[in-house]
Symmetry: C2
Subunit: 252 residues, 2 copies
């Protein structure tokens, strides 16, 4: 059982606070600039809430900075505490926390939304720290939450974050483009839900290259031409189609 | 109960044959140029197999052409039968079948793999036909398989197919790119499986634009720069990153 301070009250802060509380740790305090959010989360994990960094207890075991990437440095600088300080960002330099004696990264590779329940057990946690003892400390805590804990370096963590941008941000944008294309033709997005789910299911048991299908993978130029014709009124989506098709063809 | 001839023995042919057989129809014959495949599928649906188009019974109710898009015309021309002839393609012109008296399209909007079980009930079937009676005939059969049967025209069907290319082919290619990026850094693709599944789950209950996250959506240029730096050795993936990021930013 560790004493933990949660800094932040957003999607990541919420899921980690609930997970750490649920696995028997004591959440001593939840800080957020947004007092209402801090209070709501604090209530769920039996902690006190504050919107004042100076009110944070200084002797907790772990300070988890689950705030926006561009706020990490600033919050860290304002923080004078004795325990381990770790941020949860996939891309932010670990040295943003270097004013502290022991610091690290505690990065859960998942997309979180407060209102969506997530099984933390399956989520990869990427751990990096200032020293071996802190690595071990953070790995132990991550292991309470997940079966998939990795010790990484900055290059690996940032690479994993970049890969996740392709697998999540960009993929979701393609779903958005597909939805726009349907909507322009008065077709419901519901039509695509089964194929979207199946596409994600296929790569749970196969490498993506093993399950790649479609006109580009087949080199079916007639179909590609038909698609491009349908996109004639939409130069932005047409450019995306052309570049992604080219990329699939070059991969073959 | 209808008498149905399945032409083809690939992924789509297999799932439709099994579904139609399972919902009480009689599959009278399975045709494939590949005799072994024809026999394997025929055995599962209690049908005779043939690799000779001339051996196909001429008086069945429905001839389902589940062959490659570029083979549809040719197979149709070689076919002299009395029943309804329908292809299963999302993009091929319905008039590829116009030599027949009654013809149509029976397009299941899903990505099929023989070895992966699929619940046909959830899959949209897009129906188009030469005349109202044939539309009704094909809709009735599709309704035996699925709860989501749509009568469409060619423009709508081809648009749905195009949207599915974004949601499946291109999405899977992004998973492939993500896997390559991880592999180049000796990281396992397993890391991305939970986020890929969650990304697909999020749009089952929300529009993609409502759940778009990431550096591009936030306008977080520092993170975008860090990602581009990681992609320096890989001009093709960098171009994809830039175009997709631009597309997300322009969408805002």
């Amino acid at each position: 059982m560790k004493e933990i301070v949660i800094i932040g009250s957003g999607n990541v802060a919420t899921h980690l606070a609930l997970g750490l509380f649920g696995s028997g740790n004591k959440i001593v305090c939840v800080y957020s600039r947004n007092e209402k959010n801090a209070e709501a989360l604090a209530k769920e994990v039996n902690a006190k809430a504050t919107k004042n960094l100076q009110e944070i207890p200084t002797a907790a075991d772990l300070y988890l900075l689950a705030v926006k990437d561009d706020a990490i440095s600033e919050v860290s600088e304002s923080l004078s505490v004795q325990g381990v300080v770790a941020h949860t960002s996939g891309i932010t330099d670990i040295n943003a926390l270097k004013k502290h004696k022991c610091f690290g990264v505690f990065y859960p590779l998942q997309t979180f939304r407060k209102e969506v329940e997530i099984d933390l057990k399956q989520i990869p946690f990427l751990i990096e720290a200032s020293d071996n003892e802190t690595v071990q400390f953070l790995k132990n805590i991550a292991s309470q939450l997940s079966e998939h804990v990795f010790e990484t370096n900055t290059q690996s963590r940032q690479t994993a974050h970049l890969a996740a941008v392709f697998a999540n941000n960009f993929t979701n944008h393609l779903f958005d483009v597909a939805q726009q294309i349907l909507q322009q033709n008065n077709l419901p997005f519901d039509m695509l839900k089964p194929i979207i789910l199946q596409t994600a299911m296929n790569v749970q048991t196969h490498l993506p290259q093993e399950v790649q299908t479609g006109a580009a993978a087949r080199g079916d130029e007639k179909t590609i031409e038909a698609h491009l014709k349908l996109l004639n009124g939409n130069p932005q989506y047409k450019r995306l189609y052309e570049l992604l098709t080219k990329s699939i063809i070059e991969k073959k």
